[in-house]
Subunit: 429 residues, 2 copies
């Protein structure tokens, strides 16, 4: 009888060991690729000063933040809260340790963040984000934007997913475009309408634009802009058609071309398209923005996104640290891939061998054999329980590939036979 509610809190992911093994493998794959790309791992504390976390945030973030307090409140405890992303702590870290870091600082953080969002299926309040970021001092060449996107792309390729597509844009193009059509003063509202355009019928976007009291011509230009996509030549031509001249968007287009060209030249790259409907939220990013989706599973939404921020730590210091970063939201991604049947769940059993000593007398021989197999990197369990051999085989079959029975004969001879728990075949060790 249960005496207490033992379910995890709502919004928390809790996996059984076999699922956890798959989750861990995906996380390890991401980490390996990030490291192969030269990113260095750091870990910042989960608990931070509230003033650090909320230096820039506001709105939803502030409402969703988990505040922390001790029952035994002592004088030295500042206002504390759980971090809601990796970027704010990274900004603090870079400012705090900048004299000890090597710039461009290529950094990865793979860890849990916390947001008290409204509970909802597929939404998590505690979730892994796998970030990589490159931080420069004063300046950071545009090629790094391509590097971050390429790195995260290669990490996602280890998942063996269906065909991916990367959509990129650049905020400077949008800004230059709005300047050209004389609509800069409504930049925030127009960005928001473009950001949501994919989720609503066109007429609704048009109505929203009209409600901003834009002229009919301005509205048509914004709509033409947001549906502009394709390779660089195509979008440049289309933009030229809409605007007449490209002076105000030149810087953004140059950056976009640089990123597009580098990625296009990369071997084994998925489809990549420039798409001006990509905004990635309302503030924060200042140049490159991108998202990745699965071509045949667009309903899943973006499986990775990121972009360039010209000033990472502006709230903490006057020094300028431009950066570019991207993230895989692994907890959510794992959930939707599982739901959609896209996880390679052919879970290899987590244990290679279970050794089954017949009596206590074979414990020593069992441990010796286990030591040898472990030295070869094998995962080896010894079943010391007092159950019947049949029950032990049954247990072994659930967690392991092979069982090795050790009785007096085997212990004396040192000759062991491993039985494949799937096929029944035996092999001499």
């Amino acid at each position: 009888m249960k005496k207490i509610n033992t379910s995890p809190l709502s919004g928390m992911q809790e996996l059984l060991p076999t699922e956890q093994a798959i989750f861990d493998q995906l996380k390890q794959n991401i980490s390996d690729v990030y490291h192969h790309y030269g990113f260095l791992n750091i870990e910042t504390p989960i608990i931070e000063r509230t003033e650090v976390l909320l230096a820039k945030a506001g709105g939803d973030t502030e409402k969703q933040i988990y505040m922390v307090s001790k029952t035994d409140e002592s004088a030295d405890s500042a206002d504390q809260a759980l971090r809601f992303d990796h970027t704010v702590p990274l900004a603090r870290y870079v400012v705090e340790h900048n004299n000890d870091l090597v710039f461009p600082f290529q950094v990865t953080q793979i860890n849990r963040n916390f947001r008290g969002e409204r509970a909802q299926r597929g939404r998590f309040r505690e979730f892994y984000q796998c970030d990589c970021d490159i931080i420069g001092r004063e300046k950071l060449p545009i090629a790094y934007d391509a590097k971050v996107i390429a790195c995260i792309h290669d990490a996602l390729k280890t998942f063996n997913l269906p065909e991916m597509k990367i959509r990129i844009s650049n905020r400077k193009v949008l800004a230059g475009f709005l300047k050209a059509i004389d609509a800069e003063s409504k930049a925030t509202e127009i960005s928001s309408i473009i950001d949501h355009a994919e989720k609503v019928p066109l007429e609704k976007s048009r109505a929203a634009l009209e409600a901003l009291q834009l002229s009919a011509e301005q509205v048509e230009k914004v709509i033409a802009f947001m549906f502009t996509k394709g390779d660089f030549t195509t979008v440049e031509a289309k933009l030229s058609e809409i605007l007449g001249n490209l002076d105000t968007v030149r810087e953004g287009l140059d950056e976009l071309k640089a990123v597009f060209d580098i990625l296009n030249a990369k071997e084994g790259m998925s489809d990549i398209e420039i798409d001006f409907m990509i905004i990635r939220g309302l503030d924060y990013y200042t140049g490159t923005v991108y998202e990745t989706f699965l071509k045949d599973y667009r309903e899943i939404g973006s499986i990775s996104s990121g972009g360039r921020y010209e000033n990472l730590a502006g709230n903490f210091t006057d020094q300028k640290f431009p950066g570019v970063g991207g993230s895989i939201g692994l907890t959510r991604l794992f959930f939707v891939l599982k739901e959609t049947g896209l996880l390679n769940m052919t879970a290899t059993k987590p244990i290679d061998y279970v050794i089954l000593p017949i009596t206590n007398n074979e414990f020593a021989a069992s441990m010796q054999l286990a030591s040898k197999l472990r030295k070869d990197g094998k995962n080896v369990d010894i079943d010391f329980s007092e159950r019947k051999l049949g029950d032990k085989f049954n247990r072994a079959g659930k967690i392991a590939n092979y069982a090795i029975v050790i009785g007096e004969t085997e212990a004396n001879s040192g000759k062991y036979t491993a039985k494949n728990l799937e096929t029944g075949e035996t092999i001499e060790l």
Copy 2:
């Protein structure tokens, strides 16, 4: 100029990337060994219901717990707090998922826990614990106690530490001993005195025992008991001498012998000694208890400890789940090993190759070469920055083993030379 305090909160570990790489390697070593021993990884949420966390706790734990709340408090939010160890969440997990688990359930948890202790050098409020536990249903053979100790021992051996020693005891021996000398009613107080005996002069322990109004004979027997140590034969003889007969301590001694014999028979095992001064705190454990220390660095204290608990989830269910577990407190251990100079800080550089393209024209060739090297499992960075070549070499020397310069000649020929950044030697790739 800093605008805000960017140091991490007091009591939080925050490492530079090179130190973090060493920390991560140690954590990976522990995880590898635990997996080789057949333990399965799980992760429970960091945030739990307060009623779950405090079902048993009290005293210091309750005072040190971090409570969690949302600024935007909604109706569905129960009282929540951050977990302070892995054992309470494990108990909840086992009860919640017991129908889906394979018993004995061999489980590892390597993650952060949180305690708002008074800030103090070397004490952490957010810290990694690397636990392994084996949970049975109804019963769990004593051999598993030896398995947990052997596994953690082998994990610690990967640290290349100076000589270790394992001290083991069994709470049933203590209980039986107190029964034999008719001092059961003062078990808690006497346990506490033995638990602290190592840190105070003998006269202080004696005075504390006398203050319990024990007879002079009882006091001498307790003192003789707590200084009893050695191999099994020695401690059995000594105990027989103190008590006359061994009836009340027989069960405890049998368990102790079983654990001692298995560990002693294990190849590559460090010194192991039975030592009745080992108590490991006041409640919780019910049988085997152990701790590990470094022979020549006793001031560091225990580097790993654990034991048997007869009823893991007694606060959550009437089902019986006996378990045995142990833990490495990695954050503290890393700190003290670093302080004592015992960490192998010969930090291999985290990056194998930094590629230095001379101009933008060599970006494509650089990315191609990087891809090839990454496929061989190498960590490869490309320096896209616009600094002078000398500055780029300087940066590369701080983070990598080799630099590869790519100019027009190299890009055209596809022949590359890697320069060892330590020795200056060059090798053809």
